[in-house]
Amino acid sequence: MEWLSNNVLKHLREVSEMPDLPGVRYRLGEVLGRGGMGVVYRAHDLELQRDVALKVLAIGDTDSERMQREAQVLARIEHPGIVPVHDVGTLEDGRVFYTMKLVRGSRLDEYCRQPHPVPDLLRLFQRICEPIAFAHSQGIVHRDLKPANIMVGQFGEVLVLDWGVARVLSEPEPDGEVIGTQNYMSPEQSAGLNTDIDARSDVYAMGCILQGLVQKPAKPLRSIARKATAPERDRRYSSTVELADDIGRYLDGLPVSAHPESILDRARRLLSNNRTLVALILAYLMMRILLFWFART
């Protein structure tokens, strides 16, 4: 047999993994990404004449049920911040696939490599909290929130991706299996306590994301992140809505629930919120002092 060069090895890998699409309505394009469970390709929908993203179970991954479940979970949570699913199917080789809207933009970790003003980043963070809060209201916990699973579009819109390991709270799940990503996983996830997982587990991950989002954060922001990532669930925000509200209060220059203010903190905040007024008062006082001094001399 001929020697298999590195190029041939690479080609064999690609063709081995490539889904066979005869019989389905999509023409395959390039690989867009690779996740824990599947590979995402660009594909062209021949019927509707549009590009879509096609996610197919990775070769060797036998967990068709999980993939199918991901598509069902996505179909249940219709929100502008969650990628809509178009179609689910099974390839000839038995692998499950689904197609979804093709998202254009950059991952949050890539987006953050460019410098952005802190208020813009915080408003972006608030927008990420919205679809997650919506999923929570539908009884679904993402369980794997991290910058790589958040997409930022060209106009600052956000999309939360990769719901493959989401926990549907109405479905019982035994303890033991550890699901999530190290560095973003709540203590209950790390311990495999799946029955303890709820919205606060996602709050924890969002707290970790917040810590990475803002370099050298102000004291109140540090307190917000600390509260979100409290090891005990009861000490965290009860929802991402609460977390986003606290961020909003910080942006509006109001006291945040996570940070009890000292008199000095309060004075500093009031000073920074009312700079113009303080400057006017100071100017007025200076003028009065000068007038008084001239009158005396």
């Binding site: 020697w3 590195n6 690479k10 490539m18 390991v165 550890v178 560095n183 495999g192």
Partner: protein, 248 residues
């Protein structure tokens, strides 16, 4: 920072995969162990030989002796009994054992006393040595990366041999020939579907279908080999990703 999603048991208990040569090598009957050992040698001897030649900078003759010695010692001393799936993949374990074995051998310099150049396992070192001359070795190749790539090459070669036999047995020689002409050709010498169709007297659609069917067969055989070489579902998935998903 580890950013990969983790899905796995927290206590390290995984379901055992049936037909696993690794499991049989660790706990089967002596007959099972011998068969399992054969499967392991078939998949790993070339990466081991090339690893010794390139990463340990051994001569051709020394590498032959050390490769033989390593697998024989593994059989005699039940090296593979020490493998614990929860601690990592078998591939990594084997490489760590190999490094330890080579370090010992180098220190004791007992290699010639033990083997003395006798061929003990039927391994085609001439082919392996010929392949070594063609290997593209990157300067920044880590031992892990080098071993993983040669392991991939070895698995694919074994799968291709099995695929060729299977196609011949099923009267699908044309299918295999197309596959060989298209998928095993160097990228700059790869024919188009249209030219293959003209050459083989088929339509482009048939070429496409035949290629898809052989690729499916190839994928099935690769998975079967991987199943043999892993001992748990998690290890299987991790190795499937390493074999088919990671960068070369």
């Amino acid at each position: 920072m580890d950013t990969d999603t983790r899905i796995g048991s927290g206590d390290g208990r995984f379901p055992e995969t049936r037909h696993s040569a690794i499991a049989a090598a660790r706990s089967g009957t002596p007959a099972d162990r011998a068969v399992a050992h054969e499967s392991i040698v078939a998949a790993y001897w070339k990466p081991v030989y090339k690893y010794i030649r390139i990463k340990w900078k051994s001569s051709n003759e020394d590498a032959k002796d050390l490769t033989q010695g390593f697998f024989l010692r593994a059989l005699e001393k039940d090296f593979f009994d020490g493998y614990r799936p929860e601690k990592g993949t078998f591939r990594t374990y084997l490489r760590v054992c190999l490094d330890a074995f080579l370090a010992n051998e180098r220190q004791a310099s007992q290699r010639l006393k033990r083997g003395g150049g006798t061929i003990l396992l039927p391994l085609d070192f001439t082919t392996a040595e010929g392949e070594l001359q063609q290997i593209e070795i990157a300067q920044d190749d880590s031992p892990d990366r080098f071993f993983a790539r040669e392991w991939t090459r070895s698995i694919f070669e074994n799968a291709l041999l099995a695929l060729r036999e299977e196609c011949a047995a099923q009267g699908k020689q044309i299918h295999y020939d197309l596959f060989e002409r298209y998928d095993l050709a160097a990228s700059d010498a790869r024919a188009t579907y249209a030219s293959l169709a003209a050459e083989f007297g088929l339509s482009s659609v048939t070429v496409n279908n035949y290629l898809a069917s052989v690729r499916r067969g190839f994928r099935r055989i690769v998975i079967r080999i991987l199943r043999e070489l892993t001992s748990s579902e998690e290890e299987f998935r991790s190795e499937a990703r390493a074999l088919l998903g990671a960068e070369l």
